[in-house]
């Protein structure tokens, strides 16, 4: 079937192993048909089905391997701790005890409360100031154009700076401002490190957005605030959603800043609490895994619902359109 002397029937032109049909295929096809009967359409269909099954099976296998670590954690979370050491694969000894342990020892509500407060404040501040400055840098008329582009460059330069460089200086700054160890200690840096990327996305969007609506609103007598709030923001909803999702995920997952700037366990975010699990649960592996599952599952559930938006948010900037 795949020898050079026997050009493929048109049905297999798109197949991986099939050699290129020569130009002017119809003539060739006729000649070939005279040599050997074409494979029965039935056999052909079966062969294609088999190829598709192999491809699909391979895809499912890879996805299974990627999901496997999570499944392992969930399995361990239902396993008695001594069982984890002796025979973790057994399913006869599953128990809910770890969850009772974890719920009793883990300040889940407090962790979520802290994280949500910090995320809400940081993302609100970060998105608002980024929007304002992006609007000014793309839409308002500066007396000196140079100032406008210099400012934009100043903010965008932040994209090149790894946040690790900021850890110690911001720690000192928080101490000097007297906000070290409070919510504000992380809210401010979280809001600020989001400005460069937010500005990149928002100015990019604004540049591609026609200004006619805005002009109409101004002629109708709208002030700056009304213009932004009732005309510009509604049009920018998709990109603002992207910005918000990107930043919320960042704050929920961030660890280096919070580990340096928050020392009060009552103010710990989810990430900070998880970092203490190994010390806290020591060899109570089951309890640790139940705690990990309790943190992981809500996050995955939210992801499952908002999947499309989350993926768009996290790949924004790298993916055009």
């Amino acid at each position: 079937m795949s020898t050079r002397s026997a050009p493929p029937s048109p049905a297999t032109v798109h197949d991986r192993q099939a050699p290129a049909p020569p130009v002017g295929a119809p003539g060739v096809r006729r000649r070939r048909a005279a040599h050997r009967p074409a494979p029965s359409p039935d056999a052909e269909r079966r062969r294609r089905l088999r190829a598709r099954l192999v491809v699909a099976g391979f895809a499912y296998l890879i996805v299974f391997l990627v999901v496997l670590p999570i499944l392992w954690i969930v399995l361990l979370s239902f396993q008695q701790s001594d069982q984890i050491l002796s025979d973790p694969f057994s399913v006869r000894t599953l128990t809910l005890e770890n969850y009772r342990d974890a719920i009793a020892t883990l300040p889940l509500v407090q962790m979520y409360k802290n994280t949500i407060i910090i995320a809400t404040a940081a993302v609100t501040i970060g998105t608002t100031v980024s929007f304002m400055v992006s609007f000014a840098l793309t839409r308002m008329v500066f007396r000196r154009r140079g100032v406008q582009s210099a400012l934009l460059l100043y903010f965008l330069a932040g994209l090149a700076v790894p946040v690790y460089v900021l850890l110690f200086p911001v720690y000192r700054l928080d101490l000097a401002l007297g906000i070290f160890g409070t919510y504000a200690a992380v809210i401010l840096p979280y809001a600020v490190v989001s400005i460069p990327f937010n500005t990149l996305l928002l100015t990019g969007f604004l540049r591609g957005m026609p200004g006619e609506l805005e002009e109409a609103a101004i002629i109708d007598g709208a002030g700056l605030f009304r213009l932004c709030w009732s005309v510009v923001v509604p049009v920018m909803r998709p990109i603002l959603a992207t910005v918000v999702i990107f930043n919320v995920v960042y704050v929920f997952n961030e660890f280096p800043f919070v580990s340096v700037l928050i020392n009060d366990p009552d103010l710990a975010t989810i990430s900070l609490a998880v970092s203490k699990f190994q010390g806290q649960y020591s060899v109570n592996y089951g309890g640790m895994m139940a705690a990990a599952t309790l943190v992981l599952l809500p996050q995955l559930a939210i992801y499952a619902v908002l999947q499309r938006h989350v993926i768009a948010g996290l790949t924004a900037g790298a993916v055009k359109g």
Binding site: D15, A20, V23, V55, A59, V63, V66, V67, I70, W72, L76, I84, F89, V133, L137, M140, V141, F142, R143, L151, Y154, F155, A160, V161, P162, Y164, V165, L166, F168, P169, R172, L188, V192, I195, G211, E214, E215, I218, G223, L224, N253, F255, P256, I270, S271, V274, S275, Q278, M288, A292, V295, L296, L300, Y303, Q307, T315, A318, V319, K320, G321
Partner: protein, 289 residues
């Protein structure tokens, strides 16, 4: 817009971001760079010592080890991830039932907090309780020190990083593939190109820019690997498994040698800036092409 562009209105719009960014971003970068030129540590008063910290860094075997580990993780994971996630994106383009769900599952690890990723993988890689040795030892393979041993940790970190990033990279490739002009693909198959030829001579060349973008994003993310080290080994034994940023964190916060810590931070800053520059050049070339 000129009507609403009075000086005071511009100030109201620009100042909040400008003040915050200057105070919590620009000033800290300068402050950190300045500190790298001092002998600041513990509670003692810092003194200017010029470039001494950088010279000391050159003699610090742990610094070189952490740089080496970072480079190992970088090379291994980028060399694996770029072709693997590209192939995965091609695979996801095939007609597969529930392909959308599969893509979402593959992306999943990217939204899990790195600190949690670290914890999960402790239970895969740990020589005694980890899944990997639990599966291998019964097959007669001797217990392997995936983490915590002398040499394997950076490779294991590359593995974990690859796990966390493969869906992310695949998604960017997938989006790139979706945007390939359909008429070019059609023309090449009408010209009699086999799928394999089409892939090599049409798809891959047209995806060159995306390959560059994915590679650089991965490099940037490798430089940020900290939580994995923190959870898997804590940098040990004796700093054998540190990355640049985890070693910077140790020197600055655990051993409180602020001057030396900031010198490492400046090295990280320079590397990060170079990577971003490469990204910029690439993105600009892509836009003008």
């Amino acid at each position: 817009m000129i009507w609403l562009s009075s000086r005071s209105r511009i100030a109201v719009m620009v100042l909040p971001a400008l003040v915050l960014f200057t105070a919590f971003f620009a000033y800290p970068v300068l402050y950190g760079t300045g500190y790298s030129l001092t002998d600041a540590q513990g509670f003692s008063e810092p003194r200017l010592i010029g470039l001494d910290n950088y010279a000391t860094l050159g003699d610090d075997p742990f610094f070189w080890l952490s740089l080496k580990n970072t480079v190992i993780i970088l090379v291994v994971s980028v060399a694996f991830l770029v072709p693997a996630s590209f192939a995965l994106a091609l695979l996801m383009q095939q007609r597969i039932r529930a392909a959308g769900a599969l893509r979402a599952l593959l992306f999943g690890p990217a939204i899990v907090a790195p600190i949690l990723v670290g914890l999960v993988w402790v239970f895969i890689l740990d020589p005694r309780v980890g899944l990997l040795n639990r599966l291998l030892v019964p097959l007669g393979i001797p217990e392997i020190q995936w983490i915590g041993g002398d040499s394997l940790t950076p490779y294991s970190i590359a593995l974990v990083f690859s796990w966390a990033s493969i869906g992310f990279a695949m998604t960017i490739f997938y989006a790139g593939l979706q945007q390939l002009p359909g008429d070019v693909m059609e023309a090449s198959s009408l010209d009699g190109a086999t799928r394999w030829q089409q892939l090599l001579h049409v798809t891959v060349p047209m995806m060159r820019e995306t390959v560059g973008i994915v590679s650089i994003l991965l490099v940037t993310n490798v430089f940020k690997i900290f939580e994995l080290v923190y959870m898997l080994t804590g940098g040990g034994p004796v700093h054998r498994s540190e990355t640049l940023v985890s070693y910077m964190y140790f020197v600055t916060f655990t051993s409180q040698r602020y001057g030396s810590g900031m010198a490492i931070a400046v090295v990280v800053l320079v590397l990060g800036a170079l990577t971003s520059l490469a990204y910029l050049v690439l993105a600009r070339r892509g836009r003008s092409a």
